[in-house]
Symmetry: C2
Subunit: 202 residues, 2 copies
Amino acid sequence: MGVRKAKAAETRAALLEAARRLFAERGYLNTKITDITKEAGRATGSFYEHFAGKEELLQALLQGMEDRAGELIDTTTVHPREHDLTDRAQLRDHIKVSWTVFREHAPVVSALFQAMVADEPGSGRAWNDLVGETDFLRRHLEYSAEQGRDLPGEPELVAAAIGAMLSMLGYAVNSARGRDFDDEAVIDTLTDLLHRGLGPRD
Amino acid sequence: MGVRKAKAAETRAALLEAARRLFAERGYLNTKITDITKEAGRATGSFYEHFAGKEELLQALLQGMEDRAGELIDTTTVHPREHDLTDRAQLRDHIKVSWTVFREHAPVVSALFQAMVADEPGSGRAWNDLVGETDFLRRHLEYSAEQGRDLPGEPELVAAAIGAMLSMLGYAVNSARGRDFDDEAVIDTLTDLLHRGLGPRD
DNA sequence: GTCTATATATTGATAGAC
DNA sequence: GTCTATCAATATATAGAC
């Protein structure tokens, strides 16, 4: 890689890092492009040499997050559908992974959440995103149903409900500064709440 | 009431109604004050004779909704805490009320949701709002705990988790136009999911 | 109280020199 | 590629006539 390309990569990285900081501080929606360039110590015009807009930068941040998350959030690749979410240990693993991603990548996840909600309600983005993010849960639940488990409802709806709980609660908890949460306790609570809910009826 | 005051009330009502329509169509965040006045057939300047800003208008819409909801969402008044949410019928009643409010007052509820998320994450508004809206659930859960029920976790956290599921799923479902949901089926699914979750361990 | 007209402030985005 | 300078488009809010 030449010197010029290295410098360009440096600027790009500086913009990404500055954006991440600002998203955490004042949120995605309240962060302006000029704020990002100022925070990164670059000129306004330089921004557009790397990103078409704020949305594209967010996608780049997401990409970087997924790269690092690696094996953790394996939702799209070869994640086997033969997981039984009515099994407490397997359910807890899934919740722990989701919760950990929320907590360790709070700036990016929160920004995605804000971007999703900011869209016009009529666009259906909220529902589509929710269904998309919980697709792997749905497949697990369908597998469980095939194994004879009695689920509380349609797999897609149940998966969306679980995803809604996790994402909204994660966003709220990430926003609650000054208050410290015991992550393991939260994971246990959510696991218990959902495990029994997914289990057999009385 | 004099003629002048009547005309003023008429303008105020027109602004509120126009805002509700636009919030439903393009969302709270994407609706500008000039959009509202144009939709209401009034001049821009008239807006500020009735509301200090968009946020205040939203609060007025919320007030009107609470007035009409009347006995339904009785969270602040004399709602008795002696409800046992581990009882399926009582749990279902609560979920049904929440869900019905979401569906019947979608423009206002969705707008509140957007306003909450749009705030700076560091403000803690998301967590505070969630805790505030689920305060009555928390009190019910504390009552159930006193009755010897074994809850999956701290009442405040469990209540927040339930509220998160309901509000996020409600927002997503309201955004999913073109897809029709069977509200009773959704209520049943959520009831089952949470009822068993709140019940005794295996 | 409502209107028209406008001031003020932001923001996204681009042009052109270096 | 990065910078400075600036345009164009909004959006909030106010002033003053009616």
